[in-house]
Point group: C2
Chain length 133, copies 2
C-alpha cells in the first residue's frame, strides 16, 4: 500500500525539488498540503498536482496558467459553476500543445538534417587526419 501523506523531505526526494519550491507553490495556491501542527503533510492529491505542475513547466506554461488548468483535473462535483470557463481554457491549452507538437516535429527533423551534415564534415576531417598520419 502506498503512503497516504508525505512530509516535505519525502516530497522533495520524490520529485527532485527543493522545500522552497513546495512552499512557494503553496503560497501561489497550486498545492494545499494539510497541517500537522505547523508541519506540512502532502496528500495524494498534492502529488498528482505537483506532477502536472512540473510537466506544465516543461512545456513552457507559467505557474499562473498551470494553476488555472489544475482546476480541470481537480474539479470536485460541487462547484461546476466555473466548469465551462475552465473547459474553454483547456481547449486553448490543448490547441497550444498540439501546435507545439507540430513545430517540435519539424524542429527535430531539421536538427537531424543538420546533424547529418555535421557527421559528414566530421568524417571528412577524420579522413584527412588519417592521410596525414
Amino acid at each position: 500500500m502506498t503512503i497516504e501523506t508525505m512530509n516535505i523531505r519525502q516530497m522533495c526526494d520524490a520529485f527532485d525539488v527543493t522545500p522552497r519550491t513546495l512552499r512557494f507553490y503553496e503560497a501561489k495556491e497550486l498545492l494545499f498540503p494539510i497541517r500537522e501542527g505547523q508541519r506540512r503533510l502532502f496528500t495524494k492529491r498534492d502529488r498528482a498536482r505537483l506532477k502536472l505542475i512540473l510537466r506544465g513547466k516543461r512545456f513552457g506554461f507559467s505557474l499562473e496558467e498551470i494553476r488555472q488548468l489544475l482546476d480541470l483535473y481537480h474539479m470536485d462535483d460541487g462547484q461546476e459553476a466555473q466548469l465551462s470557463k475552465t473547459y474553454e481554457l483547456a481547449k486553448r491549452h490543448l490547441a497550444d500543445m498540439e501546435a507545439q507538437k507540430a513545430e517540435l516535429d519539424e524542429a527535430i527533423a531539421e536538427l537531424k538534417e543538420q546533424m547529418v551534415w555535421g557527421a559528414e564534415k566530421l568524417d571528412q576531417l577524420n579522413k584527412e587526419k588519417s592521410v596525414a598520419a
Copy 2:
C-alpha cells in the same frame, strides 16, 4: 526576389518582436546585423537565426543554450575546430527534444481524456437546465 537586408522595423513586423529584443539578441551575440552608419541592417542569415531563436524559446531553451546551438546551423567551413563539441551538444538537445515530444504526446492524451469527462459534465448540466425549463 526577396530583399537582401532589412532594417529594424521590417524585422519587428516580420517576426513580431520589439526593437529592444533585436538589440538585446545582438548584445548577447545571437544576431550580427551589419551597420550602415549607425543603423542596423539584418541579413538573410540574421533572419534564419532569429527564426531558430524564437523556435528554441518556444521549446523552453534559454538564450544561452540557443546561442551555442546556432553554431551548428551556421558553422562556416573555416572553423571546424569546435565542430565535434557542437555536434555533441546538438545530440543532447535532440535527445531532449525527443523526450519532450514523448511527454507532450502523453500530456495531450491525458488532457483530452479530462476534457471528455468535462464535456460529459457540461452535457449533464445542460440537461438539468432544460428539464427545469
